[in-house]
């Protein structure tokens, strides 16, 4: 099924290479409301892309901040 574009949230972060076992990737995987996530580590803005039907930009930002990383909406 094609993703509804309104459910895609894009952020600029400082998240460097994540291992599959680290706390943040586990948390992102477990977080209810996040159906898909990816980070472009090659990009200077370490762009985080979240697909969520329920969460708001602010909720994602607080979630990432709580794990010790910077995160702001990429405009």
């Amino acid at each position: 099924m094609e993703t509804n574009l309104n459910h895609i949230l894009i952020f600029k972060t400082n998240i460097d290479q994540l291992s599959t076992k680290c706390a943040l990737s586990e948390a992102l995987g477990k977080q209810t409301g996040i159906s898909q996530w990816s980070i472009d580590h090659e990009d200077c803005d370490r762009v985080l892309r979240i697909v969520s039907e329920t969460l708001s930009n602010q909720e994602i930002i607080s979630f990432i901040n709580a794990h010790g990383f910077e995160c702001e909406e990429l405009l």
Partner: protein, 196 residues
């Protein structure tokens, strides 16, 4: 409300191809692409998860277009000389109509994603070409040869001529442009060489 904009997606693919050709796989970035398309980086990330995702999607799109073009009016049970002639014609017309796309596909092919892209795009095409080869051998129209030797003899001359043509010159800088006469001459020799 965001909606999928087909024109914008087309523009992104077009510009991405240009950027890969001019800056290479390593020099390509989402930022540069967004600037070229006059859209925000965030918009680009809505359509594609990351650079690799974009390159993979473009690679399979080009691959699929190339293979579809190559199979136009062609079938695996054609007599070998006609079939090979059709392959040459289709490959020539695709190269001449889409020089940038061909160049871009070569770059992506040699990138770390090359193998994976080829695997997906090539699959249906590979079977038809393999059947064409086997039928020709069974019908005694073609010498049984290792597939690599067959490919080199059957298409090597064509790709050499196309390279001369795209560079506009041949050995020693002699101006060159591909004509039907050159193509037919080379194809005749190839058919003669491959006959049992």
């Amino acid at each position: 409300m965001r909606t999928r904009n087909a024109d914008k997606e087309k523009l992104v693919i077009e510009k991405a191809i240009e950027l890969i050709v001019s800056d290479g796989f390593e020099g390509f970035s989402m930022n540069k692409l967004a600037r070229l398309c006059n859209i925000s980086v965030a918009t680009l990330y809505i359509y594609y998860q990351h650079k690799d995702d974009l390159i993979k999607k473009i690679g399979s799109e080009i691959g699929t277009a190339f293979f579809a073009h190559t199979l136009k009016d062609f079938s695996a049970d054609m007599p070998f000389p006609q079939g090979l002639k059709k392959q040459w014609e289709n490959r020539i017309s695709f190269s001449l109509q889409n020089p940038k796309i061909v160049e871009c596909f070569e770059i992506i092919r040699h990138s770390p994603h090359g193998e994976q892209i080829l695997q997906t795009a090539v699959r249906p095409f590979k079977q038809i070409m393999a059947d064409f080869f086997t039928n020709a051998v069974d019908n005694k129209e073609l010498q049984p040869l290792p597939i690599e030797v067959f490919w080199s003899v059957a298409y090597g001359p064509l790709y050499s001529l196309l390279r001369f043509h795209s560079e506009g010159k041949s050995m020693g800088g002699k101006p060159f442009s591909l004509t039907d006469e050159y193509t037919n001459q080379a194809l005749e020799l190839v058919l003669k060489a491959l006959k049992p």
